[in-house]
């Protein structure tokens, strides 16, 4: 059995990936809304997003709503696949009954 993906196998990053996986495949979510759904501090969320971005699992795009800058976060194709693989691995580890 291969090791669980260490990038996703951490509570905060798993919750981030689980949330992003609920979006449309071409969808993205504004940083403040993501923060609200996760109940995480902005600093903490940024730290974990950076780690996920370094692994190329998420992409962050800065845009403007009027004059206010907003960052939109989305999973990349490989990120979505990595999350699905991770969940599959968990289910296999638990004997496929879960």
């Amino acid at each position: 059995m291969a090791e669980l993906d260490p990038v996703i196998h951490a509570q905060a990053r798993l919750r981030i990936m689980a949330t992003l996986a609920t979006l449309d495949s071409d969808g993205s979510i504004a940083f403040p809304r993501l923060q609200e759904l996760l109940d995480m501090t902005a600093g903490n969320l940024s730290t974990h997003l950076r780690k996920l971005e370094d692994a190329e699992y998420v992409s962050q795009e800065k845009s403007f709503r009027g004059r206010t800058p907003v960052t939109f976060v989305a999973t990349t194709k490989s990120g979505r696949r990595a999350f699905e693989d991770y969940m599959e691995q968990l289910r296999t580890l638990l004997g496929g009954t879960a």
Partner: protein, 219 residues
């Protein structure tokens, strides 16, 4: 809220699986909860609004008599309040979220205004052509129910939602059967079965949210 040091750690596989499910159910709840308030506001608008309209017709022998002009104003105010509630909640539900389903959501939202404006325009044209107020009392609730029901069916198709499918069929059935009961009996039917249908829908979602929450917290 956990600290960065703690939530950088993994848990055992079962707990991680539960954590992921719990988070996704939290996201789904953030979409489903406003639906309870939306359907609830229609339950109040139809339930009370049509009842007040019915009690405004002298020959109903309603225990409470509301003069017709006042009844019409109360009814209109309740419908407008419910429409505003839904528009605000609908926009809030999707705030900060982009994706291909945004287009479907925007068209769905606009369909409410397009459909109800068109229904009102047809009714006004018939009134101008000499439709009596008794017949107008049969026509307006029926065409409005048809519009509302078909929009719920569209919602069911877009979001593959069985709840909206059932509600859409129910509202269309109530709206098209009510005119057979004649004016003003149709108002009472719209109040009880139409308003009641929305109330049942709101309660069903609230109950399913509560049971999901229990399931998730049990792990």
């Amino acid at each position: 809220m956990t600290t960065p040091e703690v939530d950088d750690q993994p848990l055992d596989p079962a707990a991680m699986l539960a954590l992921s499910r719990e988070q996704q159910s939290k996201v789904n709840t953030s979409y489903a909860r406003p639906m309870v308030y939306m359907l609830g506001s229609w339950a109040i608008a139809w339930g009370i609004g049509f009842l007040v309209l019915w009690s405004g017709v002298p020959e109903t022998n309603s225990p409470v008599f509301v003069p017709q002009p006042a009844a019409t104003i109360i009814f209109a105010a309740l419908i407008i309040a419910a429409s505003v509630t839904c528009a605000v909640l609908g926009i809030r539900m999707n705030r900060g979220i982009r994706g291909s389903s945004n287009y479907a959501g925007a068209v769905y939202g606009a369909t409410w205004s397009i459909g109800s404006t068109a229904a009102a325009a047809i009714g006004v044209a018939l009134l101008n052509a000499g439709l009596s107020s008794d017949l107008a009392g049969l026509f307006f609730p029926a065409i409005y129910s048809l519009v509302v029901g078909i929009i719920y069916l569209a919602g069911a198709a877009i979001w593959r939602d069985k709840g909206q499918l059932i509600l859409g069929i129910w509202i269309i059935a109530v709206g098209s059967i009510a005119p057979f009961f004649g004016y003003p009996g149709n108002f009472l039917l719209m109040s009880i079965l139409g308003g009641g249908g929305f109330a049942v829908g709101a309660i069903a979602i609230a109950v399913s949210l509560a049971s999901t929450r229990k399931k998730v917290s049990r792990g």
